[in-house]
Every structure is written in structure tokens, then in C-alpha cells.
Amino acid sequence: MKNNFSIVFKSSKFRLGFIIFVLLLLSMIIFPLVNSEDPLKMNYAMFQKPGPNLPLGADNFGRNEFVELIAGGKTSLIIGILAGGIATGVGLILGLFGGYIGGLVDDILSSITNIFLVIPSFIILVLISVSITSRSYLTTALVIGFTSWPWTARAVRAQTISLRNRDHVNLAKVSGYSIPKIVATEILPYIASYVGMAFILQVASGILSEATISMLGLGPQNTVTLGLMLNWATMYEAQMSGAWWAFLPPVLMIALITFSLNLMNTGLDQIFNPQIRS
């Protein structure tokens, strides 16, 4: 295990991504401990300019943009991780069993996967969110998670099929192991690195999905996320009043979080797929 970590950290891309991510994470954890200001409290003037006590100014509701940014980043990240976890979990289970069992089960599962792969998940996200009138950030995370599993399922299925007829799997089969046990002990370990990378990408796309759905006015309620901050900034035309502090920080925060995740993913990819090392 220790050896694995040292290999991973040899990649400069992974290192950089990891450092950015940990710094962001630490700021999200430590800042609320030091500063207990409520991110939703309206203490200032609309679009108040940045000043000594107000590093990023105030938003359209007169709320401290910096405090909001940290709180919003945290909620967005939680949504991303939950959604990514669900999407990876569902995709993994469907892909593993479809790919391993084969036959009719596989036909049905991969048909469903292929159908949901072409129907834009963004549309299903809109249709479900419109139907749910009260949305917490947990609901948003659940909905995003359950609409974004198809490509993980397809990729895991392809990998499982390539492993299905290996000798060690056949040996386990002959020894009379049950299907869940074979899948868990003989196949899963071989695709674990791949699943880890898929999870990282799903977290990044979960954060982007939250921003997309929030921009449409279908985001979570009674909370602050990066997508909601952008939504408010556009609704109150922050860009037209030149209030760059209302939209630039959330845009950069979204970009920075997903950038660090993607960097880590690329770093991991180069380690596990030696063929694409430049």
C-alpha cells in the first residue's frame, strides 16, 4: 500500500492536482472554524466593493462573498462527491454483473446503458428537478448521481468482459465460488484503479452538473453552492454592473476544483496506462 502511494506521487501532475485539492479542502474545513459568519446573512450593501473587511465584496443580496465562496465550494464539493459516489457505485454494479454474467442479463443491462448514454442526462436532470418542489442539496446530489452512471457502467462492462475468461477467474469458477464472490475477489481488484479514476471524473462532472442545473433555477434551496452563486450573479446582472467579485470567484472556484481533480486523474492514468506516457 505504501509502495502504491509513492508511485502515485512520482507523477508531477498528480502531485500538483493533489496539492491544489488538499489546499482547497483545508480552507473549506478550517475557515468556518475561525470565522463563524453566516454565509446567508445579508450584512452589507448590494454589490458592495471589496474592502479591508470584505476581501471579495458583497453579492447582490449584500452577503459576504468570501464567506459565501468557502461555504458554497464546500456544499458543491459534497454534492460532487455524493453524486460521484452514487454514479460510480451504480455503474460499477451494473457493469460488473452485466459483463460477468453475460447472456440475457448483459443484453438487458447494456441496452439500458446504451439508451441512457444517448439521452442527455442533463434533460433527465431537468425533468426530475422540475417535479421535485423542495430540493435540499442532498436531493440534488442524489438526482445527479442517479442520472450520470451510464458511461461508468459501459466502461466497467468492457473491462469485465476482457477479464471474464482469464485463468484465475476460471479457477475460481471451478472451485465453486459464488458469482458475487468471484466478482469481488477475482475481477474487482483488477479494475480498482480504473474505478478510482472514474470516481474522480464523476466528482468533477457532478460539480459541473450542479452548476448547470442551478443556473436553470432548479438548484438546491436554502443553501449556497457555486452554481447558485453564479445563478444569482446572472439574475442580478452582476456582469453588467461591473461587479466582477460576484461571478469571477465562483467561476474560478469551479474551475480550480475540477482542474485539480482532472489533473489527479491524468496523473493516475499515466501511471496505470504506460502506453500513453509521453
Binding site: 441496452s111 446504451n114 439508451i115 448514454l117 444517448v118 439521452i119 442527455p120 442526462s121 442533463f122 434533460i123 433527465i124 431537468v126 425533468l127 426530475i128 422540475v130 417535479s131 418542489t133 458511461w151 468533477a204 462532472s205 459541473l208 452548476a211 448547470t212 443556473m215 436553470l216 433555477g217 432548479l218 453564479l230 450573479a233 446572472t234 452582476a238 456582469q239 453588467m240 461591473g242 466582477w244 461571478f247 469571477l248 465562483p250 467561476v251 469551479i254 474551475a255 480550480l256 475540477t258 482542474f259 482532472n262 489533473l263 491524468t266 492514468d269 502506453q275 500513453i276 506516457r277 509521453s278
Partner: protein, 334 residues
């Protein structure tokens, strides 16, 4: 050619099946709203009306239009048959305009914006990607993180920044709309110029973000191909580099076509939101306003139209892929 026809037919069957599923989801999901949607809608429309008789009439009209007093499967057939008659119902928010009329007036704006933007970003992204992989060294070291960072910015976020920078700070581009607000759409030169002017910012915010994503995929595929044996063999034979790059490009671009098909849904989604930032008169803005007004027939019309558009685009990509990938032709002949 017979084999290719078989490939096409099987693809077509799949897309029709997918369309039916999309149709069903489009019908079912909004109807899962707890409580009677008609009474929710009617109470919203009739708030302020005192006459119970007219409230009752409004209620009955809506119930009849949606056939809500019938079992759900029958409602589905009514929905489908209305659809084939080109009837998507009447908009609540822009009453009494027909949903189909609203969609018809906005779809050309969306296609006109997104189709060129996605194609341009795909082509530019792929060329830059293969160059980054080939030139390596400084070029790759600088370009890779820059592209990765750009591809991580959602296109609507990028759009807000572009509006602020070019329309508000530098004042060299209009900030919103598809044409100047004091104009009426007409086939005149001044109107056309206004459209072109308003086209720039939304177009480039979609293109630049798209280039980032596409070039990364292409770079990775090209590195993979550059390490392949045939490239080493070509080098050994002393082939010119420009010729080798062309071979690499051809092999690496095939998976990129599939990649485009897979990322199309997300790209279209992001681009629709970009329209909102610019109040561009396309489907994205219509969808946004429909959601704000809880205009269910219009929301459902938008989602169905967008899904259909993405499905058609995917189908076209599949057909092109079958034409240019020799492996598909060979596999079909066996």
C-alpha cells in the same frame, strides 16, 4: 454496400427505441409531481379570479387538454398522438401561444449557434491536440495545463466573464440578445450585421471551452498512437514527419468521433445555459423562462426537442463513423 445498410438499419432501430424511452420519460417524469398538477396549475392561474364558475371552466379546459381524468396509459397515447399531429399543447406562461410556435421561433437560433460552435471547436481541438502530442516539450508542457484549466470552466461561467470583459469593460461587443433590441427580424443587411455582432461572444465562449476538452482527448489518443509500432516502422523507413502525423491523425481521430457523440449531451447542455447568460433568443432561454414560470407544457416541449436534436446528431455521427471506419465495413462483410 449491403453490409453498410445492415449497420445503418440496426443503428436506426436502436435510435427509435431510445426515442420511445425518451418520449416516455418526458411524459412520465413531470407527471410524478405529488398531488393533482391541474389543480396546482389552475390555482396559480386563477389566483385573483373571484368567479367560481370561470375557475371551474378553466379547470375543465385543462383537464380535457391533458386528459387527466383517464388512466395513465391512455394519457400516454393521447400525448403521443397529439405529438404526431404537431400539437404540444398551449403554453401557460405565454398563454395563448402554442408550444410548437414558441419552439419553432427559437430552434433556429439554437442550431445556428451550437452546430457551428461544436463543429469548429471539435476541428480546432483535434488539430491542436495532435500538435501538442507531436511537438511535445515546451508546447505540450504549456498547452496541456492551459487547455485542461479552460476545459474545466463551464461554458456559461466563461460566458459571464467574456460579457464583463468585452461588453462592459472594453465595450467592443454587445452584451445580450440575438440582435439589437430596437430591430425587428427582417432580411436586411443591417439586421444581418447586428446578428453577426451578437453572435461573437456566445459563439466563442462555447468554442473555447470545447477546444479545451476536445484537444485533451486528441492529445492522449495521439500519444498512444505515436508510441505504436507502425509509427516506429514509418520512422525507420525514413518517412517524412508530416506524413507520419497525418497517419497518426487519421487513426487517433476515429475514437474522437465517438468521443464527440458521447460528450454531445453535456456540450449541448452547457451551451443552452450559455444562451441564458446572453438572453440569446434560443431554446436555452425559452427553457429557463419556462422553468421560472412553471410552464409545464413548454418545459416538456423544450426537453423533448433538445433530446430529439441530440439523438439525431448522435445518429448522424454514427452513420458518418460507419462510413469512414474501414473496420466496421470489414466486420460487416464477414
Amino acid at each position: 454496400m449491403k453490409s453498410y445498410r445492415r449497420y445503418m438499419t440496426s443503428k436506426m432501430v436502436w435510435y427509435i427505441l431510445t426515442f420511445v424511452v425518451a418520449l416516455f420519460l418526458n411524459f412520465l417524469l413531470p407527471r410524478l409531481i405529488p398531488g393533482n398538477p391541474v389543480s396546482t396549475i389552475v390555482s396559480k392561474i386563477t389566483s385573483g379570479m373571484a368567479d367560481t364558475n370561470s375557475i371551474k371552466r378553466v379547470y375543465e379546459t385543462f383537464e380535457k387538454e391533458f386528459g387527466l381524468n383517464k388512466p395513465i396509459w391512455e394519457q400516454f397515447f393521447i400525448y403521443v398522438s397529439n405529438l404526431f399531429h404537431g400539437d404540444m399543447g398551449t403554453s401557460f406562461g405565454q398563454y395563448p401561444r402554442k408550444v410548437t410556435d414558441i419552439l419553432a421561433s427559437s430552434i433556429m437560433w439554437t442550431i445556428g449557434l451550437q452546430l457551428p460552435a461544436i463543429i469548429v471547436s471539435w476541428i480546432l481541438g483535434n488539430v491542436l491536440g495532435v500538435l501538442a502530442a507531436y511537438i511535445k516539450k515546451g508546447f505540450d508542457k504549456v498547452l496541456f495545463p492551459v487547455f485542461l484549466f479552460i476545459s474545466c470552466i463551464p461554458s456559461f461561467g466563461f460566458a459571464i466573464v467574456l460579457v464583463w470583459l468585452f461588453a462592459v469593460v472594453l465595450k467592443i461587443a454587445p452584451a445580450s440578445g440575438g440582435y439589437a433590441f430596437d430591430m425587428i427580424p427582417s432580411p436586411t443587411i443591417s439586421f444581418f450585421l447586428s446578428v453577426v455582432q451578437h453572435y461573437q461572444l456566445p459563439f466563442w465562449s462555447i468554442v473555447l471551452v470545447g477546444i479545451g476538452g476536445q484537444s485533451l482527448g486528441m492529445r492522449e489518443m495521439s500519444i498512444y498512437e505515436l508510441n505504436a509500432d507502425y509509427v516506429k516502422y514509418c520512422r525507420l523507413l525514413g518517412l517524412e514527419d508530416s506524413k507520419i502525423v497525418r497517419y497518426v491523425f487519421r487513426n487517433a481521430v476515429l475514437p474522437q468521433i465517438t468521443g464527440l457523440a458521447l460528450s454531445l449531451g453535456t456540450m449541448v447542455g452547457g451551451a443552452l445555459i450559455t444562451e441564458i447568460v446572453f438572453s440569446y433568443p434560443g431554446l436555452g432561454s425559452v427553457l429557463f423562462n419556462a422553468i421560472a414560470a412553471q410552464d409545464f407544457p413548454l418545459i416538456s416541449g423544450c426537453t423533448l426537442l433538445i433530446t430529439t436534436g441530440v439523438l439525431i446528431a448522435n445518429f448522424v455521427i454514427d452513420i458518418i463513423y460507419g462510413l469512414i471506419d474501414p473496420r466496421i465495413k470489414v466486420a460487416q462483410q464477414e
